[in-house]
Each structure stands twice: as structure tokens, then as C-alpha cells.
């Protein structure tokens, strides 16, 4: 068993804040840094990780097939065409979350730990069984939050659940390492007082800041093209995700994209 294998859950509580976008970007980023990475879609029934990763036409078997022993992991894992070391484990579109069992998930994660360095779990929204299953075996949690009151409240709720309903909590092991990923950040709106600032969110959630991803048109383009936004090297969002991955791996990188652009940057700078 690869003792270094780490399970990372990307969760939020609130829906639509950027979990799948972030799961795709972070797992791609880790694989680009030569770490063997697999990203798992835990949103049974409403799967969309495969769309964001651009592999929806190559899905034959899914997570539930493996749990039910209808297919092997090898038959189900999809190798990413662009990035070496990156694999995707898609969710089922036709079944529902009751098909996910703790034992089934445990077996698969143990098997994945033998071949991969990082296992990224893309959680569904909410605090019910799908989300609980995605977080149960996590060593790290990336809490995706929009700088907006209901998202922050829901993230706070999910942090409480991580602290009590995960395997580490139940067995009294070291707690899950929490990382704040603030997405859809707009420095102009913060300046106008329309949006919560990074400091406001940090003050409420009290967890270390992994990264600030600016609001970006590139995200929609990327998901329509089926290319994780981190591969769009000209976009601010892509660069911000790259910084976040570096910070996750222990590098000290100052936070960019937290200040509004001045006129020169807007005219000559990278497109948002």
C-alpha cells in the first residue's frame, strides 16, 4: 500500500459554488506536478465531472458498477488524454445515491491508494448521504466557498460535520486538514461593499486560506470545452488554481487577484 496516498474531498455544503470546477482544476494541477492523481465523481445521478474533464464520450462503466462488482477498477477508470498521471472515476447517471455503501467505497479507496498519490473526491452539494460518503475517508478537505453569506453559512455547517462525521473523527485520529478555497471573487465588488472580503470570510470560518479564485469568463469557456480551467494558462482563474495547487504542496506563494486591476493592467494585462 502506498503510504503517501492522500484522500482530498472537495466540498462546500452550498450548491453551485465551484466544487466540480475546482476538483477538475486541482486534480489536473496535481497530475501536472507529476503526482499520480485520480478524481472521483461522488454525485451519483447528477454526474457532471466527466463533462468538465472532457471525457463524457468515453464512459463505459461507473463507480457503482465497481461497488457492485459488475466491473473492475481497471475497466472503469478513464485515462485523461491531455495529462499523464491523471485518471477519472465517473459516477452513475441512472442509479441513485443509495447504491453507494461505506464498505463499497472503502474497498475502492483502498485499491486506489495502491496506485495513486492523490485521490480527489468531488462531493455533491448538501449534507446528506452523498456528501457524507464523499468526505468520510478524507485526509484533507478543500472547502469551496463563494464570498456570499449563504455560501459561508453552509461552509461553516459542513466544517462542523467534517469534524464529527468523518472516519478520522469517529476513530479519534488526527482531524482532517481543512483548506479554504474562495471562488468567484471580485475585488471591485468587495471595494464597493457588495461582496464579503477575504478577511470577512476568514474571520467567520477560521480555516487556512488555500487560494482565491477570481470571477472569470474563462471558467464557463473551459467547462463548455471540457477542459479544466487550470489548462487555460492565460486566464486569471487558471493561474490562481495553479497557485492553489502549489500552496497545497507546501510552497509559499503570495495571493494574487485580490486587488482590483488598475487601468494599465486592464488594458494590457491578461484577459480575465
Amino acid at each position: 500500500m502506498n503510504k503517501q496516498a492522500q484522500v482530498i474531498v472537495v466540498t462546500s455544503g452550498k450548491g453551485g459554488v465551484g466544487k466540480t470546477t475546482s476538483s477538475a482544476a486541482l486534480s489536473t494541477g496535481l497530475a501536472l506536478r507529476k503526482h499520480k492523481t485520480v478524481v472521483i465523481d461522488f454525485d451519483v445521478g447528477l454526474r457532471n465531472l466527466d463533462l468538465i474533464m472532457g471525457c463524457e464520450r468515453r464512459v463505459v462503466y461507473d463507480f457503482i458498477n465497481v461497488i457492485n462488482k459488475e466491473a473492475t477498477l481497471n475497466q472503469t477508470l478513464i485515462k485523461d488524454k491531455r495529462v499523464e498521471d491523471l485518471f477519472i472515476l465517473p459516477a452513475s447517471q441512472t442509479r441513485d445515491k443509495d447504491a453507494l455503501t461505506k464498505e463499497g467505497v472503502c474497498t475502492i479507496i483502498d485499491e486506489l491508494k495502491e496506485r495513486f498519490d492523490y485521490i480527489v473526491c468531488d462531493s455533491p452539494a448538501g449534507i446528506e448521504s452523498g456528501a457524507l460518503m464523499a468526505m468520510y475517508y478524507a485526509d484533507h478537505a478543500v472547502i469551496v466557498t463563494n464570498p456570499e453569506v449563504s455560501s459561508v453559512r453552509d461552509s461553516d455547517r459542513i466544517l462542523g460535520i467534517l469534524a464529527s462525521r468523518s472516519r478520522r473523527a469517529e476513530l479519534g485520529l488526527d482531524p482532517i486538514k481543512e483548506h479554504l478555497l474562495l471562488t468567484r471573487y471580485s475585488p471591485e465588488r468587495v471595494k464597493r461593499g457588495e461582496m464579503l472580503s477575504v478577511k470577512d470570510v476568514e474571520d467567520i470560518l477560521s480555516i487556512p486560506l488555500l487560494g482565491v479564485i477570481p470571477e472569470s469568463k474563462a471558467v464557463l469557456r473551459a467547462s463548455n470545452e471540457g477542459t479544466p480551467v487550470i489548462l487555460d494558462e492565460r486566464s486569471d482563474a487558471g493561474k490562481a488554481y495553479k497557485d492553489a495547487v502549489a500552496r497545497f504542496l507546501g510552497e509559499q506563494i503570495p495571493h494574487r487577484f485580490m486587488q482590483s486591476k488598475n487601468i494599465l493592467e486592464r488594458l494590457f494585462g491578461a484577459e480575465a
Binding site: R153, D156, R157, L159, G160, I161, A163, I204, S206
Partner: protein, 243 residues
């Protein structure tokens, strides 16, 4: 019965004694509607605390003839409010039959220990009473209390060294100290001790309560909002002063 079957049946369980503490609802009024309204109000202050709590009904203080009393409706009312009535004491013989039919146990009529300084109780008010804890155990919390979490320091003080988020509930039989912003709900003296306090570094609470007397955030905004504050009871009224 076959001897092997008999031996199997005998090893199916062990009979043991056990001591448990239950909340007692000592009734002072027989008016069902008054009881129901007071309960709804009390439960609203700390919903999780009362949810699915076993309750013993104590009728010893009732002076109304038992014929005027509707035990059946009361038990149903408690069940509707998510309480679990498990027993009754101080009930005259005919009411005991009703109780048993309702699935309640008839417990012995030992007086529950009265507190030395019982606050003045009007006939309309109902005070839950519990055997006081023998030792005082304080609870110290060092991690943020997140929304949806509930912490209860039974039989002592609650000390929190990190933020209490919106949507969190902290309760104590004794005092509550929050050395950080208090943004959720804090209830001190939940068992009726009026001599308890709430202290916090920044008062931003959704609700504060001392021995059942409460105030919500709209009313709190007038005093010490987002400043260090202490909350206590003074002559039966909640008093908020700077710390």
C-alpha cells in the same frame, strides 16, 4: 419445554439495575392549553435540548381533583412536541390506570430534591426540575463551534476559546464564557439556576438566555453589540452590561 431450549432462553439476557437521571415536568396547572403554550415557548429556546427527551410527569403539586384532569390529552400533547413521556408519579389510583394504558410507568412518590433558592413561580409557569448533579464538571471547548452543532455543559460551566458561529447552540447548567465572538445562541442556567452569567468578547448572538429569560439579536443590538459583554438576571430581568 425441551431442556436445551430452556438453557438457551435463560442465557438470552441479564437482568441488571441501573440509575438514570430524567427531566421531570412538575405540573402546577391542570389547564392543558397553558401547559402546551408554555412548553412550546420553552422548547423554542433550545429545540435540540428538548427533542426526544424522556420526561417523567409529576402530579404531586396539583390541587385539582383528578376528575378534572385530562391525562390522555396531556400525554398526546407531549408526544406531539417530540418529548417522550416515560413515567408518572404522584398520580391517584384512577389516573394510574390511565397512565398504564398510555404506556407510562408509575414511579414511586419520592419528593425530588428542592433547590434552596427556588425562583418565584406563578401558577401559569412550569419549571422542569432535575436531581441536582453531585459534582460540578466544567466543559472547555477549544475548536470553533460550527453552525448546526450543539454543546451542552451538564452540571457545570461552559468555556469556549473559539468563535461560536451563527446557527450553533451552546447551553450550560452553569455559566457560559466565550473568549471570542458569540454569534449563535447561548443559554445559561438551563436547569433554572438564576445566578448564572454569560460572558463574551463580542456580543453578536442570535439569542441569549439566562434561566429561561431570553432576548433575541434584534433587541440585543441596542446594548453592547459587537463589544465585550456580560449578561445576567437582575430581579428576574435580563441585564446586559459591558465587560
Amino acid at each position: 419445554m425441551d431442556s436445551t431450549l430452556l438453557r438457551k432462553a435463560q442465557s438470552a439476557f441479564l437482568l441488571k439495575g441501573g440509575a438514570y437521571t430524567f427531566t421531570t415536568l412538575q405540573l402546577l396547572s391542570a389547564d392543558l392549553e397553558t401547559i402546551r403554550l408554555s412548553l412550546v415557548d420553552k422548547i423554542a429556546q433550545a429545540p435540540k435540548f428538548f427533542e426526544k427527551t424522556p420526561i417523567v410527569l409529576d402530579l404531586q403539586k396539583l390541587e385539582v381533583p383528578y376528575t378534572e384532569y385530562n391525562l390522555l390529552e396531556l400525554v398526546q400533547c407531549l408526544r406531539t412536541l417530540q418529548l417522550i413521556p416515560i413515567g408518572i408519579r404522584g398520580a391517584p389510583e384512577p389516573l394510574q390506570q390511565v397512565a398504564i394504558a398510555q404506556g407510562l410507568a408509575c414511579l414511586s412518590d419520592i419528593r425530588s430534591a428542592e433547590k434552596t433558592e427556588t425562583p418565584k413561580v406563578s401558577p401559569q409557569e412550569i419549571m422542569p426540575k432535575v436531581m441536582p448533579a453531585a459534582t460540578v464538571t466544567n466543559k472547555v471547548i477549544t475548536q470553533p463551534v460550527r453552525g448546526g452543532q450543539q454543546i451542552y455543559a451538564q452540571g457545570g460551566d461552559l468555556i469556549v476559546l473559539a468563535t461560536v458561529s451563527h446557527g450553533a447552540e451552546i447551553l450550560a447548567d452553569g455559566n457560559i464564557h466565550v473568549y471570542a465572538p458569540l454569534r449563535g445562541r447561548a443559554l445559561a442556567g438551563v436547569m433554572g439556576d438564576t445566578n448564572t452569567y454569560i460572558f463574551c468578547q463580542s456580543l453578536e448572538a442570535e439569542l441569549v438566555s439566562v434561566a429561561g429569560q431570553y432576548r433575541i439579536s434584534e433587541q440585543l443590538k441596542e446594548s453592547c453589540w459587537q463589544k465585550p459583554a456580560q449578561i445576567s438576571l437582575s430581579e428576574g430581568h435580563l441585564r446586559i452590561t459591558p465587560l
